[in-house]
């Protein structure tokens, strides 16, 4: 993920569904067309998305996903993509269901392999304007292509968008409802435990920079669980704020909170103290400045796995992140 401030998707992207074959422009075209019998699906959907309007024949079976969040959320909707871009890590994220192993890798999120995508003969391609705007014309020639505006903080809107593009609007709504319910449940239990006011700091040490996450995907999960953020990590305008800030060592005090969650990689879990991942973390956390933070003094620093907290970026990741909040704060 890039450090540049990203604007969140401005609003949920509207979707108009029409029955293909009916002349699309006729009177009731704006009404959802799947109002018919039980489980009956329309023969096509017209999806409004970041690049315009696209018709997708229903229901697409061969789905190609060009981002981590797309792959995750499509799996959550009960579809296994035929092709997906490589995860940011060497292996697939642990939290993903086993079906992920059947997925063919078609390049990286930053450089998808167009030939490999075409060879899969997809029914629909799901990407984002943020990452793939320049590729849109070529992708559209391969298959109907639907883009979200951005990734990360807008993940919930994106789940609805992918659900629409897959003709699985109901499944999308169910998945989001289940997530909200789980988040509410955790919020209620935090309140019961007197931990509703816990201020949670969210940081990540990387080889060449150190970040504080303000909003973004991980920030939205904390927010959904009803947790607070330390003064220095609160934002005035959720949608317009930068998702994260990069900080210098002098700003270690801004990392403090009641609890500090430190995002670490799978690799870190595999070989704690490994030479490679966290020279930076070692250097920063060995300073007296870090050692003096109230969360450190109180022993409230927890490592969290960046796979589901940051890299995955879909609804399965968000749900897994909620689980880890439960494990850490509600033992």
């Amino acid at each position: 993920m890039k450090a540049s401030p990203r604007r969140a998707a401005l609003s949920a992207i509207g979707v108009i569904m029409t029955v293909a074959g009916c002349s699309g422009a006729s009177g009731g075209a704006n009404a959802p067309a799947n109002a018919g019998g039980a489980g009956e699906r329309p023969t096509a959907v017209t999806v409004e998305h970041a690049m315009g309007t696209t018709d997708v024949p229903c229901a697409p079976e061969r789905v190609v996903t060009l981002g981590q969040g797309q792959t995750d959320s499509v799996l959550a909707l009960g579809v296994t993509p035929v092709g997906a871009v490589k995860p940011w890590t060497d292996d697939w994220y642990d939290y993903l269901p086993d079906e992920i192993e059947q997925v063919e890798i078609i390049g990286t999120e930053l450089e998808p392999d167009l030939e490999a995508i075409a060879a899969l003969q997809p029914d629909v391609i799901l990407g984002s304007k943020l990452r793939h705007e320049a590729l849109y014309p070529q992708l559209s020639q391969i298959a109907p292509t639907v883009f979200s505006e951005t990734i990360g903080v807008s993940w919930k809107d994106n789940v609805s968008l992918w659900a629409d593009a897959l003709c699985r609007q109901e499944e999308g709504q169910e998945a989001l409802d289940a997530y909200e319910q789980r988040a509410d449940e955790i919020e209620a239990r935090l309140e019961e435990a007197g931990k509703a006011d816990t201020e949670v700091s969210l940081v990540r040490f990387m080889p060449d920079q150190v970040r504080i996450y303000l909003t973004g995907f991980p920030g939205s999960v904390l927010r959904d669980a009803g947790l607070n953020r330390p003064q220095d990590q609160q934002v005035d305008n959720w949608d317009e704020s930068p998702q994260l800030i990069e900080i210098s060592e002098e700003r270690i005090p801004e990392m403090d909170g009641d609890v500090i969650l430190v995002m670490v990689s799978d690799k870190w879990y595999a070989q704690t103290g490994g030479h490679d991942v966290d020279e930076t973390m070692e250097r920063w956390t060995s300073t007296d400045l870090w050692q003096g933070l109230s969360a450190v003094q109180a022993g409230n620093v927890h490592e969290i796995n960046e796979s589901h907290w940051n890299l995955g970026g879909g609804i399965l990741a968000a749900t897994t992140a909620l689980d880890s909040i439960e494990d850490l704060l509600l033992p």
């Binding site: 080889p207 800030i245 990069e246 900080i247 210098s248 060592e249 700003r251 400045l289």
Partner: protein, 331 residues
């Protein structure tokens, strides 16, 4: 230049040096009240601000002082020894040679970071040796233009090798990325101490070489007439220069332009090329440029920082152009 003028220049340099040192302790990514900075200087370690000053700002100030002086003096020696106004640690391949050797030693061979200075010395000496051999191989001998071209070739090759190594070995890349940026951030004061004897010896050597280098400036025949051994003087000056540059590389990574620009500034201010005076003034102005760049980098991109190496290049390049233009106009 009269004695009074010379004293004036020296006085100004000392004032500038004291100013940047004070600013380097007082100014940073976080704004601190003066009273707390003073408190920290008197040894208090109660507040976070005290720790910021004592643990972060003072070490990087010390590192900047030493690295800046080493680079500038190294530049004076190289320019004197080669009688080439464009000679400098970076242009002769010493910086990139040192960088390459450190990458090999620390990242690939896994040697402890304390060997970095020796790796940088060997790598820098080898690179400068190759550049010199290339430069003297032709029929017209060691012409300024040949020397600069040879240095550029050696630097380019070493930089390519360094990048290739880093591209092939991601883990190694993570280890040294911070280091290769050319930065004073996160310097450990303890890393400076073991290098100090080396620095003192090298600076004393420079002082002793000043007279012979003055003789060399008159031409080899004149120098022989004055009882000097030009080759021996060149070799010694080269060795001391490489050692100084290696210390700087080990302390701050590759920093551009300080070694090239500062000696020119010193000569322009003194209106003299007498090595003893130029050395003294350069040793004071080197840290002024490096720490000045570092301080700008700390406040330019809050809440994060820009590496000093990026800024020395930004500041140093126009400075050099101006000097070159003025030099042309007056000569």
């Amino acid at each position: 230049m009269s004695l009074v003028q010379r004293l004036g220049v020296t006085g100004l340099a000392v004032v500038a040096l004291v100013t940047v040192v004070v600013a380097s302790v007082a100014v940073g990514s976080v704004s601190l009240p003066v009273s707390e900075v003073l408190g920290a200087l008197s040894g208090t370690r109660e507040l976070e601000s005290h720790l910021i000053v004592t643990d972060l700002r003072i070490p990087r100030t010390v590192a900047g002082l030493v690295a800046g002086a080493c680079l500038a003096v190294s530049g004076v020696l190289l320019q004197g020894a080669t009688r080439n106004p464009l000679a400098s640690p970076a242009l002769l391949g010493i910086t990139h040679g040192g960088g390459f050797a450190v990458v090999v030693a620390v990242a690939l061979l896994g040697l402890p970071p304390s060997v970095a200075v020796w790796a940088a010395f060997l790598g820098g000496a080898a690179a400068a040796g190759v550049a010199l051999a290339l430069a003297t191989s032709g029929r017209d001998g060691l012409s300024p233009i040949r020397l600069v071209l040879s240095g550029a070739i050696v630097s380019a090759v070493l930089l390519a090798w360094t990048n290739a190594l880093l591209a092939l070995n991601e883990h190694a890349a993570d280890d040294v990325r911070h280091w290769l940026a050319g930065s004073l951030a996160g310097r450990d004061a303890a890393a400076v101490a073991p290098l100090l004897p080396l620095v003192v010896i090298a600076l004393a050597g420079s002082w002793l070489l000043a007279g012979p280098l003055d003789a060399l400036a008159l031409g080899d025949e004149q120098a022989v007439g004055l009882g000097q051994h030009p080759t021996r003087v060149r070799l010694l000056a080269g060795l001391v220069a490489v050692l100084l540059a290696a210390v700087a590389v080990a302390l701050a990574g590759p920093i551009a332009f300080v070694g090239l620009a500062v000696p020119h500034v010193a000569r322009a201010l003194l209106r003299s090329g007498r090595h003893r005076q130029v050395l003294l003034l350069s040793a004071a102005l080197g840290p002024v440029l490096l720490l000045g760049a570092d301080i700008i980098g700390r406040v330019a991109a809050r809440p994060t920082e820009v590496q000093a190496g990026v800024l020395t290049a930004l500041i140093g390049a126009p400075l050099l152009v101006r000097l070159a233009v003025r030099h042309k106009a007056t000569s």
